[in-house]
Subunit: 477 residues, 2 copies
């Protein structure tokens, strides 16, 4: 059920501030009346219905898991080309992308002892496996990366490190950012001190025995050790055994392995612009998913939202001034390969990307709108916020991240908008077997489509643009 | 959190009726004032605290899964002997029980096609496996056992039958009773029509990708075929494929197998009676569990409730008139072996079982009290109900089932009391990997202990008994 929320007080303050700025800048009514009316009508029609849910259902039920480089990934690329065409997008095409390839294989994690117990666990993305006979070692528990780093090698060498930190539930998903470094760097840091493997409490909020996967990053100068996540109840069990004075041992057998790189593709489709077809309003999502679930909230939802928004825009009486471009990125999960490939463009092409909007946080209602645009364009943002407010969306700030796949474009100067989905329950399902279509509600995803379509339509029909952001240095990774 | 509930209107009517019966039978105040006072004090002290939660925690965290005949089962018997002694019970002993032995092995269920998908599935208890290369066949969907039975063999022969029926959520767990025949008899009925395997939608209410196991029963005159449960989202997927016009095939590989019978044990302990030590008030639960979870709600909770109730009774200033006997039955799940073994007793011994109370439905608050006693003893039931009412417990009726492990005694004439736990969420976890200690709340389990201790203490201190029930014919199975 979609329950529109009252505009948050702090957001309202920020909005009033913006509107004051807008008034002061003498651009009274930065968004022309006619555009405001067509955007509002588009918004309301999206609430009435959109193909978003059916798109996600088709992707998850027909294709299912689509880990980069897997047969599902290849099937998804073909599916996406067909689907975007079917939705009326033009210039539908693929852009080849080299992607790394990793195979989860099988995993057994056993709490040793006279009465061994199997733990619910999964390998983290990119983890190496064990030798066929497995490894067995005593467990040493730490509470954070800092706690781990403070230990002497004599405490860690030859042992399995258990990093036991709970992720906090939050509407803005901020608990993830605070905990995910454990997943990303746990194996690397434990290996530096001589550990044989690392097991972490799942970086998620599920209380079910469904472990949470996600990428992790080795340091090539340090030995690569298996990296594994335990489901929350299994982490509880291990912590309980330690708290009651036991020194438990784990036996781990894993056939996870890296395979040679292979080919995937970004899938691109457009609603061509009427007046300035070379100017791009980019709607992004990623087509790949982790292999455990069927990638419904991560990121089938994003695919459904942006494809449906473009479809509804394509059905307007008149094409937008600028081109709306949908980019379904390859391999977000395991290294942002598609985003990096897409970024290989001339400065002129990059400059033609007027603004980008990404959907990669599920399909719960959008509750906050943030921007990162040039200060001179904040009156336009206030105008868009006015159109979004009836959806129960408050304004955040002008420091939007824009999303992982847009980051290479944003650091190259492209302004971004962030439409933040309610993340309270996102991490109950994200990166687990439970990421399936039944987590998505039709009315909620249509609220998302309304927000994305409204923002994209408005941005694509303005005569003004959003300026450029300061160019940031390219990341080494 | 314990939220005492108002006495249900229908229950109140039944109670008033009972009280009227009591008054009419001229036993004014069937429960002596002193006993009423001590029972109420015991009840209130249990609410303040009991060892129940810690007992379940110890059983699930130290021993874990304990499928009949497994190493965990043997460890649990030793654990229970120690635990009952530690709790101050006397005459702690084991009674050897022969139990069947079944091994789940590994299972892969794959939705075939150009892009195969792994389904979340588990073998049903006692299922045979497949040949090593597995089986693959088209799926035919039916909606019930009756629907299956109405099909011609030509529709079923050589195929995999998918029985797709949702279990309804209900406080009294009644949805289970209506759906579980599909699990019990699906394989048998499908095999009669020539099916190669049966897959059923899990008989549970979880929306997670955690399939639900439980026993199933072959007909020895019919070929035994693999019997498998799919998690709800995976059943949704299969149903969706069929609804969209596909004729899906499944590939199944299972190493499930029956092993030779082995030995387990009932574990028995007592608070000996002061006046009539040969008269037994039986508190029952079962020690075994399915192998997927750690058996917290099924039936660690029951073990904790009855052991804690006996412990609190043992700490009273005076021993009860009659003996309180705790029986932790072996192998309830896979054939009621312990209950059948316990029932092998003389008529005289059986007659000494004054009343039985079982705990085998989790640890959510008890909301209803039912009885099955001789009509002449209904005034006593009304008296006990009066003591239970402050716990938010309403009266049901005099047609209590008493529970699976007490059935052989009940059909032999022993009266029973049923204290019904709220089952609204029980089947979200029951018989799945998610049956772990974190599903249990300390305050809620203490409400249970209060109810069981109150009923047992009162029954054990009355001079009168509950009469006998009509003897029912012994079941063939």
């Amino acid at each position: 059920m979609l329950l529109p929320r009252p505009i948050h007080r702090a957001g309202m303050k920020a909005l009033i501030c913006l509107l004051a700025t807008a008034a002061a800048s003498a651009h009274a009514g930065p968004i022309p009346d006619e555009l405001r009316a067509s955007a509002a009508a588009l918004r309301d029609s999206a609430l009435e219905g959109s193909p978003a849910y059916d798109i996600v259902e088709s992707l998850t039920m027909e294709i299912g898991p689509r880990l980069a480089g897997s047969p599902g990934d290849r099937a998804a690329v073909a599916w996406a080309v067909d689907k975007l065409r079917e939705l009326g997008l033009e210039n539908v095409r693929t852009q080849e992308v080299e992607v790394p390839q990793w195979e989860r294989g099988t995993l057994e994690v056993t709490l040793s002892g006279t009465n061994p117990m199997q733990l619910a666990a999964t390998s983290l993305g990119g983890s190496v496996g064990t030798r066929a006979s497995g490894i067995e070692a005593e467990v040493v528990r730490v509470e954070s990366l800092e706690d781990l780093q403070s230990r002497g090698a004599e405490q860690i060498t030859g042992r399995i490190v258990f990093i036991d930190r709970r992720m906090e539930r939050a509407r803005d998903g901020s608990g993830y950012g605070r905990t995910v470094p454990i997943r990303l760097y746990g194996a690397r840091e434990a290996a530096k001190l001589g550990a044989r493997a690392v097991v972490i409490r799942s970086v998620g909020t599920s209380e079910n025995r469904v472990p949470h996967t996600g990428t992790q990053i080795y340091d090539l100068s340090v030995r690569r050790i298996p990296a594994i996540a335990l489901a929350a109840p299994d982490a509880d069990l291990l912590a309980w055994r330690i708290a009651t004075g036991e020194t438990p041992s784990l036996r781990i057998r894993s056939t996870a392995r890296q395979l040679p790189p292979t080919t995937s593709a970004n899938v691109i489709g457009e609603i061509p612009g009427r007046v300035a077809p070379d100017e791009i309003v980019l709607l992004g999502a990623h087509l790949d998913s982790w292999d455990l679930g069927t990638g419904a909230i991560d990121d089938g939802a994003g695919v459904g939202i942006v494809a449906a928004a473009a479809h509804l825009i394509g059905r307007q009486d008149m094409a937008p001034r600028r081109t709306i471009r949908v980019v379904l990125f390859a391999n977000e999960e395991f290294g942002l390969s598609g985003a990096r490939e897409y970024r290989r463009m001339s400065d002129q092409e990059l400059a033609a990307h007027i603004i980008g909007i990404e959907a990669d946080f599920g399909a719960a209602p959008v509750w906050r709108f943030s921007s990162r645009v040039a200060p001179a364009a904040l009156d336009l943002i206030a105008g868009i916020q006015e159109l979004l407010a009836p959806l129960g969306i408050e304004y955040g700030n002008n420091e939007a991240g824009g999303g992982a796949d847009l980051r290479p474009l944003r650091t190259g100067g492209m302004p971004v908008l962030s439409l933040s989905q309610d993340g309270t329950h996102y991490f109950d399902y994200h990166h687990t077997v439970n990421d399936t279509i039944d987590r998505i509600d039709r009315e909620e995803i249509n609220q998302n489509v309304a927000a994305y379509a409204t923002a994209a339509w408005t941005a694509a029909n303005l005569e003004r643009d959003f300026g450029r952001l300061a160019v940031e240095p390219r990341e080494s990774r």
